[in-house]
Symmetry: C2
Subunit: 382 residues, 2 copies
DNA sequence: ATCACACATGGGAGCGCTCCCACCGTACCC
DNA sequence: GGGTACGGTGGGAGCGCTCCCATGTGTGAT
């Protein structure tokens, strides 16, 4: 708005004044600066800070960037000047000069994707945001479109717009990860696409969570435990199935494929799978669903079939979403530390993009793979 | 597997070095540039495009920015060069030179805030993202911290880091909006803070939604309709209460304060309010809750009290969240067009930040206030 | 006292872009 | 014929910062 035409007469001391009393900005047109800022609408520049502190540009830059090569008194003087002028570095200039962006992109799949649903999204974002906030990095949200868009996206991301990329809920056949890897941008993926995920990744212990859930069912005396799994091409889904199998095997149960039904992570899928299961094994007394949504579907079918939960059939879900908490009866579910995964992803990508400080050569032991523990939240359904 | 282990020796200056020549892409794991790009790892610059097309820098810039002052053949030549080189403008440089950011910030309150819960967050983000994608603007996610942080935040946002700010779920006493308004950054708020919201805003028709819900209850033959409202300092909550009152008044019911209970938008609050209501008016036959979460709480209390839903008491919520869909029975709820609100917000800031061609057209009719219609989604609970 | 070698510091040279002004033609006017 | 207008174009001058080299100014060793 008010153009940059304004002739500014650097008026440094306004600082304190503005802060303490300036609120009187009755003149609606006049942007009462939130912090002291020499009038003229323009934010102070590094050069102005330097002049104000009586030092050179380079010194101010050093102070801002935390270089140790500045004497204590000088640093103090510069910091005072910065505070007084309410100086805030111009990101664009910094990015241009330093050839970095101070920003991390979180690429989210299209809205229809399962990921976008609760609770995943907000928690991941929350975790990522938290970790990033500590470092002054910015969080860019980017939406991956179709195949063509993805190519363009990789290109854009590569064009020095971000220092790192966070990928979530990526399907195994998505070209984006490889496109990105090709550009050399540090990339971290949440949810491995396979056991041999080539990208640094953060995942939750799907197998362990499933195993714990089933073990819990067994400890409650359940004998015929079925499972509703997601499409097995989804690595996480197959891990959950593995966990289910392992728990049963550990308890001495013989493998029984008739207790396994594959669905697609939707409620309708859950209903259908439950019907199948009931038809095949009418005597089942417990069901472990690989997601809360599928559990919700299963619950409906069970009800319709006259089975009481948990009296006749115990039910456990996965995700510990709001649905689980509000279901009737409340659903026992495997909680994934989503927010923590977000934090971990952010930290991982930061370390990749980071200075690679001397002495932290990271033994070339392949990509970093983090697997975070899950937790069984026991509620009324089991 | 050890794909990215290519981390070179800790060599501080690598950055600069790499840009000029190095990283010849010949080593590492086949970079396979997404698009043709002059080798050397460096992204082509505008200058290179100009040379390639045999024109001047200015002309290329004009083409990129869609200036009409370029002849057709020249434009074609430039576009060909751009495509051939796989040129992508450097955002930082552009931002620096043009003094704009090409980015909009979405400021979200802290995670504990109600807002962060489903379904608000993802839908808003989705809508905003969609609208922004069309314009090539970036979406920055920022987290508002405590009071002090907010001051800092306003400062940062003002320091030319974004062209506009989107505020969501702002409490009436939050200083951030005013801080921002003071800096002159285009700001749009979702959910007016009062009837006289000074900021451009996008809101849903809370009163209308509530009125429709209650009218629906009346049409179903309910006579004693109670309501559980949120804290009335929250403008939206008081609007919903107004809608409730209006519907009743329109049906000729006399105002009855004993049918109104105030809660705090939490499940526990809903339970407590329902208990109150039941104690005061045991004969009530319907409840309109100002949020699904409170409705969930109310439902529990009703159940515990032996009331059947909807046979004895009809229940309606607000938000149409996943909770509503999965409740038992499924909850009738007032849907807000959240995603559309996100889109509207984005478009609004864009128009504020936008060209603002010569002078300041904008018929100075006060801040833009958009109120989007709500919709009653009828389910089993009513 | 001299030399060497740290440090601390100042400031030039860009980073890649937009802005804007000068300049070129060509079409049109008197 | 010589203006007068332009639409089209090239390129200088920065935008505010980081880098890095050159230049002081202390200290210790000789």
């Amino acid at each position: 708005m008010t153009a940059r035409t304004a002739r500014e007469a650097p008026e440094p001391r306004t600082a304190r004044a503005a802060r303490t009393d300036r609120t009187a900005g009755t003149d609606r047109t006049a942007p009462a600066a939130p912090a002291a800022r020499s009038r003229g609408g323009k934010a102070p520049t590094l050069e102005e800070v330097a002049a104000h502190a009586g030092v050179g540009r380079g010194t101010v830059s050093r102070v801002i960037n935390g270089s140790p090569r500045v004497s204590a008194p000088t640093r103090a003087a510069v910091e005072a000047a910065i505070a007084e002028l309410g100086y805030v570095p111009n990101r664009a200039a910094r990015a241009l000069a330093a050839n970095r962006a101070d920003a991390i992109a979180l690429v989210v799949p299209e809205p229809e994707a399962r990921f976008f649903a609760e609770p995943y999204f907000s928690d991941i974002v929350s975790g990522v945001g938290e970790a990033l906030a500590e470092t002054g990095m910015q969080l860019l949200l980017t939406f991956a479109g179709g195949a063509r868009e993805r190519r363009r996206l990789a290109q854009y991301l590569a064009a020095h717009r971000v220092d790192g990329v966070l990928l979530v809920s990526v399907r195994a056949d998505d070209p984006l990860p490889d496109l990105l890897a090709g550009t050399g941008i540090p990339t971290v993926i949440s949810g491995r696409r396979s056991a041999a995920e080539p990208l640094p990744s953060v995942d939750s212990d799907n197998a362990g969570g499933a195993r714990t859930a089933v073990a819990h069912l067994l400890s409650r005396g359940r004998r015929t435990i079925a499972t509703i799994t997601g499409r097995l091409e989804v690595y996480g889904a197959s891990c959950r199935l593995d966990g289910y199998r392992r728990a049963l095997a550990e308890a001495g149960h013989a493998p029984d494929e008739s207790l396994i039904a594959v669905a697609d992570f939707t409620e309708e899928g859950g209903r259908r799978a439950m019907r199948e299961l009931l038809a095949r094994r009418p005597a089942l007394d417990a069901v472990f669903a690989a997601s809360d949504v599928m559990a919700a579907g299963a619950r409906q079918t069970l009800r319709a079939a006259g089975r009481r939960i948990p009296d006749d059939v115990a039910l456990i879900g996965f995700d510990d979403s709001a649905i689980a908490r509000h279901m009737d009866p409340p659903l026992t579910s495997v909680r994934q530390p989503i927010e923590e995964m977000g934090r971990a992803m952010a930290r991982l990508v930061l370390s990749e993009a980071g200075p690679t400080p001397p002495g932290k050569p990271e033994p070339g032991a392949g990509p970093q793979q983090l697997v975070l523990p899950t937790e069984l939240v026991v509620r009324g359904s089991s």
